[in-house]
Each structure stands twice: as C-alpha cells, then as structure tokens.
C-alpha cells in the first residue's frame, strides 16, 4: 500500500504539471502540513536556562518555538515570518524588550499578542510595558504552570 503511486496535478504559470508520487511521500507531505499548522511562539530571552526551559515546555505543549538572545537578533525573524506569540525579557543586551515591543507594534503587527517577562517590580516600568503594547506581563520568579496557562489564553 505504501508503495502505491499517485499523480499530483498542479497548475504552475498556466501549465498543468503532472507529478508521480508514492503514498509514503504523500504522508510526509501531510506531516509537513501539520507542522506548518503549529502555532509559532518566539522567545527572546538572554538567559539560556530560562530560554531552554520555556522552549522545552512549549514544544511539549505542541507549539513551534523560535528562540533568540536579544531583540536585534529576533527582528529579522519577526519581520519575515508570521508568529502567534512573542515572549520577551525586558532587560537584554543590544536591544531591550521595550524597544522590541515598540518595534513590533509600530512596524510588524498591532494584533499579535506579546508577553513581557522581567524580575522588575517597578510599577512605572510595568505600566510602560502595557502602554507600549504588551498584552501580558509576568514577574520572575514565576510558577511554571501559571506561564503555560497565560500562554494558552493568549494564543488560544
């Protein structure tokens, strides 16, 4: 059965292209489609431990995860790819979280949910983060379960 052959017909530039594929190739194609359907979460965090733990957990929750260590690195990806949630630390080298949030809100998307993470307790900083467009803010240290719930709520 897996060796059975099919013809895929596609229209490219007005020309019918007939392609012979086997069933197992089709299965791979389907898997790829599923992969693409996964929601993408972008983590921008300079702490390698936290970044790794979050990545591990979110992958287990069924998300596709991209990690970056600062805002500058993340911008290239954010500009050229679609994503469903941005989780960013506030204090990072080169480009901090606030600058990244502002950039995303002004130049990339006004809709995509953004969650900020920081150890700061300063009310001014937290208020400013919401003012510039963050949807959620979580203070370090946090409960691992709480973060998962908040992510689910934001991503849907």
């Amino acid at each position: 059965m897996s060796g059975e052959e099919f013809y895929l017909v596609s229209l490219e530039g007005g020309i019918n292209i007939k392609e012979k594929v086997k069933l197992r190739d089709l299965a791979v194609t389907k898997e790829n489609l599923d992969l693409n359907a996964k929601k993408t979460i972008v983590i921008v965090e300079d702490n390698d431990l936290l970044s790794k733990v979050l990545e591990y957990r979110m992958q287990k929750d069924g998300y596709h995860v991209e990690t970056f260590t600062n805002g500058e690195e993340a911008i290239d990806f954010l500009t050229t790819n679609s994503f469903d949630l941005l989780i960013t630390d506030l204090y990072m080298p080169f480009m901090n979280g606030s600058e990244l949030i502002q950039h995303v809100r002004n130049k990339i998307s006004t809709e995509v949910p953004i969650m900020a993470i920081s150890a700061t307790h300063e009310e001014d900083v937290i208020a400013n983060i919401f003012n510039i467009g963050a949807n959620d803010f979580i203070v370090k240290p946090f409960r691992a379960g709480e973060l998962s719930v908040r992510i689910k709520r934001l991503v849907g």
């Binding site: 390698d48 431990l49 790794k52 409960r143 709480e146």
Partner: protein, 464 residues
C-alpha cells in the same frame, strides 16, 4: 679604522645627515640635503679615488672623516682656514655644530651605544613579555569560559525537563544518574550555578524540586566546604548557595557566621538566615553581637521584598540593645504598617538617643497615629532641631484649628527651617491659615514675606 669605530662613526654621521636633512628641509626647502650630498660625494672622491661613490656607508664615513678632521681635531686657526677653503663646512651651520658638539659630549666612548642597545633590548623584552602574558592569560580565560559554556549547556539540556515537568520516578532517576557523572569540583559548581538560576526564575513546585536535586547530588557538601574553608568571598558565595538551595537545617551552620569578622560574610549570613527561616526571619537579631549598619538594614528590606518573606511583628524585638537595630525595626514597622506597634513606638519618643526619637516621630506619622500630637507638642521645646522638624512635618498631617497658635509661635520664634515648615503648613491648612500668615507678616515687619511668596508660588505646590 677598526670595524666598530667605523660603525660608530657611521651612526654619528647618519644622525648628522638626518639632522641636516630634516632641519634643512624645514629651513630651505628640499634643496639642502641634495646640495649636501653632492658636496659630500666630491669630498669622497678626493679621499678615496676610484671607489664606488654611491656606497651610503662610505658616503657617511667620508662626511664623518671630513667632519672629524675639520671640526673636532682641527685647531681653531686651522678650522677657520678650512672653513674658508672647504665648502663642506658651509653646510654645517650653527645648529648642526651645536648638535654635533652635544653628540660628542655624550658619546666619548662606546658605553652609550651599549647602554642604548641594552635599553632597546629591555624595551623589546618588556613588550614581548606583556604580549606573552596577555596572549597566555587570554588563552586560559577563553579555554575556561569555553569549558564552562559547554558544560553549562550540557547541564541545562539535562535539567530543563526537571524544572517544568512532573517526571516519573524512572525519568528522575535517569536525570540524577546523568548529573552524578559530573564528579569534578568545577563541574559540580556549574550544576550549582544552574540550579541557583533555576531557583531565581521559578517558584512553586519547580523550586522545591531544585532543592531536592541539590540534596540528592550532595552539592550541599560543596557549598559547606566553601563556607568552612574558603576566604571571605568563597564563604559568602557558599552561604548564598546554602540559603538558596539548602534545607532549613543549614540554619545552624549559617548562624555561626552572623558574627564573622568580615562585614560581607556577616551580611550574607544574615540574609541567608532570613531565607532559611521564613517563620522567624529576624531570629538572627538575638545572635547579633556586631553593630548593625544601615547597609544591612537596606539589604534585609530588599531580601524580604524580593523573596516575599512575611514580616514578623517587629514590636517584640524593639528592646534590642543595639540602637541601630532599634532604628531598623522602627523603619520596618513604618514600611509594613504594623499598627499594633504604636503604643510601644510611643515610648521611644522619650528615648535617650535623638536619632531614635526622630525615627519614632516619623514612624508614628506614617502610622497616622493622631493621638500622639499632644505629646509631640509637649516635647517640642526640649527637642533638638531635626526632631523638631519631624514633629512639625507630622503636624501637617494632624493639624486642627487649635494648633494654629502653636504654629504661629514657631513662625515668630523658630529657626529658618521651622519658620519655613510652619508657614507651609499654615498656608496649606486653610484660607484662615493664609490670612493669619499675612497678619503675622505685618506684625513681623515683612520678615516672613519671602517664605509666604515661596509657598504661594504654584510651581512649589509639589513640595511635601
């Protein structure tokens, strides 16, 4: 002429040529060196007929010989004659003469050359050793850092699931087995660093699991070793590790360092003690023999704040013999709004230490204990200036109509600060207060007009 002498002369002549070239170039454009060289070549031809004239060393040599013959060895009369005869002398103008005389003066023997060579060698050796030390230490540092990074990455890969997941016993045992392979002391230290970072980022179940892991892997032994055997820095780090990752039992070990000779160790021990005994975080005060410094109180406050430690009732410890501790406790009562402490705090308005009396006034004000106003007013006359100022500031919160007379008295007789504060309170109290101020101003022949104008100014409204 010996070879060495020849070299020496050549060096001297080279300096001469350079000097002439440089100064001639500056003074007369680029013609001077060329003119000099042409003359020198003619002289060379006279002395060494038939030899290659373009040989630079020979050229320099002939100039040198001519110079030695004509300038150094010649008698004044001969020199004058030679000067008129030989056009080479015309090239050696006055500054050059002076320069050569200087050269001769300092280089009568070859010692200077050796000395210069030695200096050059020493200089080169210095540069080489600095470069070598930099390269080697950089290499060691990079190697150490690369090792740390790679091990850290490995360890993070292993422990990540542990921080976030509920692992079954088999998976947990596997994780412990993997971590137990890190037997070297520096590897164990990396594991501790990763666990501390995990503890800083996660609370709840994960945090408990991190502590378990610290015990299972016997990492507390590494920290205890640092505490017991290290210098003050390692001891402080060890104490911190025990506080973050250790169980409450380590409290007794930490207690030993509350009175350590080193200030940092003492502070670290105090903070660690607080973290390990959340029910009685100020229990260390009973053990404290050293004077408590302000920096300690600040560190304690922030440790409580950032670690969510519940403040114990401070009133129980207010009788501590150290006045700095009493000050700290008064501030804590104020920060944590411990209203049940007011009666005890009131007693400190009569303390012998003016700093404590001042802090007691501030604390009662922040607790908004209005009933104390009468006692404050009664004490006012006997108080020193800083305490008086705090009493006046408290009046701002407690003021009633019958306090106006008291404030007017301050305006009439008080110091600069007291007048200022009393004027501000009266103005802000009511329209009547402001009216009274202008009457007082007339009575005092305009002496308080400046103060009134200052407090009336809208831009100064924000001043507390």
């Amino acid at each position: 002429m010996s070879q060495l002498k020849r070299v020496f002369l050549s060096v001297r002549i080279l300096i001469l040529v350079l000097f002439i070239g440089l100064s001639g170039g500056k003074a007369q454009g680029a013609q001077m060196p060329a003119e000099f060289v042409a003359t020198a070549l003619t002289a060379y031809g006279d002395i060494f007929p038939g030899q290659e004239q373009t040989n630079a060393i020979c050229l320099l040599e002939v100039v040198g010989q001519k110079f030695v013959k004509l300038v150094v060895q010649a008698e004044p009369a001969e020199l004058a004659e030679a000067e008129s005869e030989n056009n080479l002398i015309e090239l050696l103008w006055a500054p050059v003469d002076y320069f050569l005389a200087f050269i001769d003066k300092i280089s009568l023997g070859y010692g200077l050359l050796y000395y210069l060579a030695l200096l050059a060698c020493f200089f080169l050796f210095n540069i080489a050793s600095v470069v070598m030390v930099t390269v080697v230490s950089n290499w060691f540092f990079n190697r150490k850092e690369a090792y740390y990074k790679s091990k850290r990455k490995e360890i993070i890969e292993i422990v990540s699931p542990y921080f976030y997941d509920v692992l079954d016993p088999e998976e947990e045992a596997e994780l412990v087995e993997k971590l137990e392979k890190y037997k070297r002391l520096k590897d164990k230290q990396i594991v501790i660093d990763v666990l501390i970072e995990g503890k800083r980022n996660f609370i709840g179940e994960s945090s408990g699991k991190i502590k378990e892991l610290y015990e299972i892997l016997d990492l507390h032994k590494v920290s205890l070793r640092k505490v017991r055997m290290g210098n003050w820095y390692r001891r402080s780090i060890g104490l911190r590790e025990l506080a973050f990752l250790g169980r409450k039992g380590f409290k007794n070990e930490i207690k030993k360092y509350i009175n350590d000779d080193h200030q940092y160790v003492r502070t670290e021990a105090v903070l660690s003690y607080m973290l390990l005994d959340e029910k009685n975080p100020f229990g260390f005060l009973r053990e404290l023999k050293y004077s408590f410094v302000r920096w300690d109180s600040l560190s304690i406050y922030y440790t409580m704040y950032f670690n969510g430690i519940e403040p114990p009732p401070m009133v129980d410890m207010l009788k501590h013999p150290d006045p700095q501790v009493r000050l700290f406790l008064l501030r804590m009562i104020s920060n944590y709004n411990q209203l049940d402490a007011v009666k005890e705090v009131t007693k400190y308005l009569l303390d012998d230490d003016p700093e404590i009396r001042q802090e007691a006034v501030i604390t009662l004000r922040s607790l908004e204990y209005y009933r104390i106003k009468a006692l404050m007013k009664k004490r006012y006359a006997d108080e020193i200036e800083p305490v008086r100022m705090e009493i006046l500031r408290s009046m701002k919160h407690f003021i009633e109509d019958h306090d106006i007379t008291f404030l007017e008295e301050r305006v009439r007789k008080g110091s600069f600060g007291e007048v200022f504060e009393a004027v501000r309170i009266l103005y802000r109290f009511s329209g009547y207060g402001e009216q009274r101020l202008w009457v007082l101003n007339q009575e005092l022949q305009g002496k308080i007009e400046v103060f009134i104008k200052h407090v009336v100014e809208p831009r100064n409204k924000h001043v507390a």
